[in-house]
């Protein structure tokens, strides 16, 4: 192994690590605010990538039907309470959960999807898939928001399996690759960097900075932080836990879909690819103790690098090496931090 190979591997590791880092941040965020270990995070990656692929091929994205279905369920769940509250709220509920998917489906039918510029296609993908995040929170997690972490975890596994199954129905068993954002290639010394790599790394950085701004500067971001620090205290201050949950899931879905859109030109994505990508983000999140954003991001980056280098030296044991990393990290964490039992 010479310096040149090390450079190429590092570049590869950083590209994948940037995606893992985004997912790790989303996982930490979701866990901090709602105590949910969000296993379906990876599904949003796959759904995003594959919805974009369908749009690119000029096929009507089947995920839009899921959006409509989820909208109908949310409306049914909320109908009773909202009708009692009356007037404007009924309109709002019907508007956001029935009218929006219906309008979107109409729009998708009428638009020449294949001829949209790439940025338009990405936008449509976001419009279709991201609202599923908050809807998912409403349907799956909100009814059991006060349940113990273990119950939430088990429900997460169920949601993950359901989404993978639906993914097979929507997208079929074969994978897709989307066209890259940029065909550019830069030669720097002995190595070349593709435009897509730069896109991935820069977008991840922008997203991370945007998240930091959101949490530091905006009232909603501060509300989420407050909920993460003390759920009951935040509630007493008038922060609705349901709103915090939906907002969190909106962000998680947004991060997931963007990761999917970014990574799908680099690799082929299948209906079930999301889980493993999400799991590597999870290893990063674990390194950050499901609490620290910077450590989680750094951990995820390390996972990416470790993966790249172990695929060079011991390709058959790559996953083993990556996932075994969790054990020393957990050992170290449990030895150095004193355990605090969260009151539930």
């Amino acid at each position: 192994m010479d310096f040149q190979i090390a450079l190429i591997l590092a570049q590869d590791g950083i590209t994948n690590g940037a995606i893992y880092a985004l997912l790790a941040l989303a996982l930490v965020l979701v866990f901090a605010v709602t105590r949910v270990i969000f296993i379906p995070q990876g599904e949003f990656v796959a759904y995003g990538a594959l919805t974009l692929a369908m749009i690119e091929n000029g096929v009507f994205p089947a995920t839009a039907w899921l959006l409509l279905g989820a909208g109908v369920i949310v409306t049914a769940l909320d109908a009773g309470a909202v009708v009692r509250a009356g007037g404007r709220r009924v309109m709002m509920l019907a508007g956001t959960h029935l009218l929006y998917p219906a309008l979107l489906i109409g729009l998708l039918w009428s638009m020449p999807l294949k001829d949209l510029p790439l940025i338009g296609q990405v936008l449509v993908t976001l419009l279709v898939v991201v609202p599923m995040g908050p809807m998912m929170y409403r349907i799956v997690y909100q009814p059991i928001a006060e349940a113990p972490v273990l119950v939430l975890l088990i429900v997460s596994v169920a949601a993950h399996l359901a989404l993978v199954g639906l993914g097979l129905v929507f997208f079929g068993a074969e994978g897709y690759r989307t066209s890259p954002f940029s065909q550019a290639r830069f030669e720097i010394g002995p190595m070349f960097i593709t435009g897509q790599t730069i896109w991935v790394v820069l977008s991840s950085l922008v997203l991370i900075v945007a998240l930091a701004m959101f949490f530091g500067r905006t009232i909603y971001g501060k509300a989420l932080r407050a909920t993460a620090i003390n759920r009951n205290g935040a509630r007493l201050m008038g922060i609705s836990p349901a709103l915090a949950g939906k907002l969190t899931f909106f962000l998680a879905a947004l991060i997931g879909v963007l990761s999917g859109v970014l990574i799908s030109p680099i690799t082929t994505i299948y209906y079930d690819s999301g889980f493993l990508i999400g799991l590597k983000g999870f290893v990063g999140a674990i390194i950050g103790g499901l609490a620290s954003y910077p450590i989680a991001a750094a951990g995820a980056l390390m996972v990416g690098l470790l993966e790249a280098f172990s695929s060079f030296w011991a390709s058959a044991y790559k996953e083993v090496i990556v996932f075994t990393l969790v054990i020393p990290v957990l050992l170290w964490r449990s030895l150095t931090t004193h355990h605090m039992e969260e009151e539930e």
Partner: protein, 381 residues
């Protein structure tokens, strides 16, 4: 789908109670899970298989095993205990098929597997005498690749395969055969179906400067190493296995796959076969039937393995009926004997000649070398 099966089952029961006997076929197929891209065309093919043989209605009971060994065994147990099937077809993958052998043997039910590994039917012993299979052995395919390599002056070769039974199976076959033929295997790498990058493996292989690279993967995931090799500027020969022989692979791999060689069943290039090729007519018949139901260009070689099991039944059932009535242990045993005596049965993948020691029955006519040219499959002469 479920309703349809329940109805079919209900109709089946009504018939079973009547005078007409009928033949029950249990099918377990990996229509979901990692092997779904193979299982779905197989599942679709079952609908096209004979509904009647020698005046006997055929009833198919189709179950999905989710590419999972436990489910495959559960399915075959259900077939023999509840459905009282006369023959079992499937499953899609080698691990599933291997796990099913015990049940088939203990219930004395003939089974025709759609999975590739030769270990499913070899050596024919007390248990495996009940087991047959339709796909070509990996060994046959590996020999075809090695032959092509030595004819084209390839001296050194690097190997990259799935880190699972498929990749390991190919590695074992390929490395032993390569040694016999005097080829030098300079690097052996593994990757996972779901990997997002194989840069490390590709760099490791390219450092050895091999004349050719063999990629042992199935379906679209096999495109990843090839795309990475091209991206890194590799300009030697690239070989794939017959596991990639579907149109989705061409779509995903695109330009990067031009000039790739692979061995495949003749059904892949049926239209290009010379007219005197004995497989041509039967292969075209399958393609016509499948594309009539699922649209032009939808056919894949995997579904053809399922079709071939229908061909075997068509040949064997009339013989077995001379001995016993369906639904009895005598019939199952007679069907097994008849399957073992199938001669010159023309399937979509080749001509089957079974024998007591060969429960696959395919010869060299069951494989051709194919080159990917202009985004399509071209027969190499």
């Amino acid at each position: 789908m479920k309703l349809k099966h329940t109805l079919l089952a209900a109709i089946g029961l009504a018939f079973a109670a009547g005078v007409h006997a009928q033949i029950t076929v249990g099918v377990t197929v990996s229509a979901t899970g990692p092997a779904a891209s193979l299982g779905i065309p197989e599942r679709n093919t079952v609908d096209l298989m004979p509904k009647e043989i020698a005046g006997q209605a055929i009833r198919y009971v189709v179950l999905d095993d989710q590419s999972d060994t436990t489910h495959a065994v559960m399915n075959i147990r259900r077939f023999v205990s509840d459905d009282k099937v006369d023959v079992v077809l499937g499953s899609t993958t080698t691990p599933n098929s291997l796990a099913m052998i015990d049940v088939a043997a203990e219930s004395k039910t003939p089974m025709i597997s759609w999975a590739a590994s030769s270990t499913i039917v070899e050596p024919v012993d007390d248990k495996k005498r009940w087991v047959f299979k339709t796909p070509q052995n990996d060994q046959q395919m590996a020999t075809a690749i090695l032959e092509h390599m030595s004819n084209n002056n390839v001296k050194t070769v690097a190997f990259i395969g799935f880190a699972d039974a498929y990749g390991e199976g190919w590695w074992n076959q390929f490395s032993t055969l390569a040694q016999v033929r005097g080829l030098n295997v300079v690097s052996s790498q593994r990757y996972n179906r779901t990997d997002t990058s194989v840069t490390g493996q590709v760099l490791q292989m390219m450092a050895q400067r091999p004349d050719a690279v063999l990629i042992a993967g199935s379906g679209t995931p096999a495109a990843l190493p090839q795309k990475t090799l091209k991206e890194r500027g590799y300009n030697g020969k690239i070989y794939q296995t017959h596991g990639v022989a579907n149109n989705d692979f061409l779509r995903v791999c695109g330009r990067d796959c031009e000039g790739t060689f692979l061995p495949a069943g003749p059904v892949l290039v049926a239209a290009q076969l010379p007219d005197d090729n004995p497989v041509k007519a039967s292969a075209l018949a399958y393609i016509a039937a499948y594309e009539a139901a699922h649209g032009a260009g939808s056919v894949s070689t995997f579904g053809a393995h399922a079709w071939d099991s229908g061909v075997l039944l068509q040949a064997a059932v009339p013989e077995a009926l001379k001995v016993a009535q369906p639904g009895t242990a005598e019939f199952r045993s007679a069907l097994r004997d008849a399957l073992e005596n199938v001669r010159e049965a023309a399937g979509a993948h080749g001509i089957f000649n079974m024998s007591p020691t060969d429960h696959l029955g395919l010869d060299q006519r069951a494989r051709v070398m194919v080159e990917i040219k202009d985004g399509g499959w071209k027969l190499v002469n």
